[in-house]
Amino acid sequence: MENKLMLNQTMIEECRTFAKKITDEVEKVIKVRSTLTVERTVLRLLGVDGINQFDEPIPNQMVDEVVHNGDISKGISTYIASALYHTKLSLADFIDQYKKSEVNLTQIPLIDSKKVRVVLAPYINQSFEKISKNKVLRETLIHNYGKNLTDLYVIVATGNIYEDVIQAKAAAKAGADIIAVIRSTGQSLLDYVPFGATTEGFGGTFATQENFKIMRKALDEVGLEEKRYIKLVNYASGLCMPEIAAMAALERLDVLLNDSMYGIIFRDINMQRTFIDQHFSRMINAYAGIIINTGEDNYLTTSDAYSEAHTVLASQFINEEFAFRAHLKEELMGLGHAFEIDPEIKDSFLYEVAQAEMAREIFPNAPLKYMPPTKHISGNIFKAYQQNTLFNIATHLTGQSIHLLGMMTEAIHTPFLSDRYLAISNAKMIQKSMASIREEFIFKKDGIIQNRASEVLEKAHELLGQIASNSLFKALEDGIFAGVKRPYEGGKGLGGVFVKSKDYVNVVFDALEVKFNEN
């Protein structure tokens, strides 16, 4: 492992021990509970899809039926299996009749958990086989085309999936390796996933399974022409984390924004809900080989990037431990951070390099996601281009893996075709002109960069120690991250959290655990 910064390795180990203690306590809450979106995810992975005449997704309709007329604490698996068992219908036929209200889930005697597993096994196997094939195909394509040290990541956000396709193809041809389709604002707070191809969104395009499919196909086409594998990103944060993860797994998305605390802090989603949802969604990602991206960069756009740098590192340790517990390998942990220090501060670039290098050395195998400056970008597009150049140099010098490109027109409009092209050219020039800079440069002993990194590590160590001796719930209530305070019983989505009964069954969860134990 590289140690250019001469970081205190004992302190890093202690940080990880604190993170274990912190997540231990949260896991106790997660283990005994489930949520409505977790149950809907089970349905989706069994093959339940579609909407009813009121545009309500069938998974929502089914789970809501059990909430109102049954006992959801037994898990949706029990109800759907019992219904299939007694009606002797295939799942597809059952859904058809369910849409017409000819059958229901709650007026049928329930079968025992053994029978539940037997009835649902063929459906689970089908989805798992599809996901596993997706994973193999992705791995094969990346292997054949070759893996990049750093992937250039750009965003499309037109609101119309077909317009997104044009922009995404252009970006990929210009050199982008990863395309993210930004979601319509507000989708994170919807307690359902919209259905079908969509052409109307605000500030982005709705995440739907059909939209995933359309974009995947387009990127595969352009990848074939360019002889590169173009990765597709979407966002799992919000009230439907595991459902989005399931859809992403089925449609071969490659990266999902999936933070263990982002929803709590920035979307005021209840903390119990988020912790439970992130765990199940990450298990799906782990099985599907989807890279998660965490959202620590957001702390720095809200708080000061210099004084709060240690909260980013502390959160990365916590996100890492949550990810381990969901069986995610380090290679799938795209921990996030950002280049957000005020450029007017003397030596700000050196501090940025210190923080980025620190993340690289502490998480050597993680595909770190590095976010561009946004907070100190003004309408001066020429200065913004200059700041982005500095950011690109820091990215390259410190070997970041997922390089989200800054736009010179940040905060002015959704990027023009030319804005994105110029951003890619900028990054490409740095990559080429500084190709070997990482191997050539070492840092001065006890210099500004080494000292800054040690200082941030020490402060993160202290903070993690404090959180470990209190609790993560308390830390969130006290506003430790991004200065935002969230109560344990507050926020959106708490109504969708329930304690599992003794005879609770989640066939997807259990099947995933079996898969993880096989490996």
Binding site: A170, A174, S184, G203, E344, A411, I412, S418
Partner: protein, 241 residues
């Protein structure tokens, strides 16, 4: 006074423009870019750069001169003109004129998920060295964050007896911000609260002119900080007293 853009000599009228055209050859592209510049009113347009940025699309950088002048004496100043006061001066003004804390309620409303704007004005830390309203003595500041529905915003404002409402809008796609800003004014009027509050809009694409047109007391765009907003609001509250 009449003015023209300044390149390297007074009154040379030089401007730079860049744009993308859906065109697939450099030669035809240059002619098209020149033609476009002429139609824009530029004299002697020079296409200094053309680049293929995507199949069928080319990017151009063009220089040219404008043949006309602008009369500035008859123009309106787009930015709110208020006496530039410091945080301390504002705090003193509050303590001298009001025997209570002034209540400011801010949020990024509607579906808008961006808090950057409202945070810059309200958060303790503020922005670019300008402390936010939370740090002001004499101001009780509530920052409700993002994605706050107008109804909820108004309910909260009523509950805490707000003096000043700050609404931040960042996403402007398909004019969603206009609809949302107008909706808030209508809601306040329906609740008979509009006259009780100083209503201020803010955001990267908000101008004072636009805000007033929509029924706001004022609007603040880029390069405006907490003290600009606070000074404006406190002066308005004084006028109302």
């Amino acid at each position: 006074m009449k003015i023209r853009p300044y390149g390297d000599t007074s009154h040379d009228g030089k401007v730079q423009v860049s744009f993308t055209l859906p065109i697939s050859t450099d030669g035809l592209g240059i002619s098209a870019a020149k033609e476009l510049a002429k139609k824009m009113g530029l004299v002697n347009p020079q296409v200094v750069h053309v680049e293929d940025i995507h199949e069928g699309y080319r990017f151009f950088v063009v220089y040219g001169s404008v043949p006309f002048e602008i009369e500035i004496d008859t123009l309106k100043d787009e930015e709110i003109e208020n006496v530039s006061l410091s945080k301390e001066e504002i705090e003193e003004m509050i303590s001298k004129n009001f025997n209570r804390n002034l209540v400011f309620v801010g949020a990024s409303t509607g579906s808008d998920a961006h808090t950057v704007g409202i945070d810059a004005i309200m958060n303790m830390k503020g922005y670019a060295g300008h402390y936010g309203l939370e740090r002001y003595k004499g101001i009780q500041a509530y920052n409700l964050g993002s994605q706050v529905e107008n109804e909820e915003f108004v309910r909260f404002a009523r509950k805490v007896k707000a003096d000043v409402l700050l609404v931040s809008q960042t996403v402007t796609q398909k004019d969603v911000h206009i609809k949302n800003l107008v909706n808030l004014v209508e809601l306040l009027e329906a609740e008979n609260m509009r006259k009780d509050v100083i209503l201020i809009a803010g955001g990267a694409r908000i101008t004072n002119e636009l805000a007033k047109e929509l029924g706001y007391d004022g609007g603040f765009g880029p390069r405006k900080y907490a003290e600009d907003v606070a000074a404006f609001a406190v002066e308005r509250l004084l006028e109302k007293k």
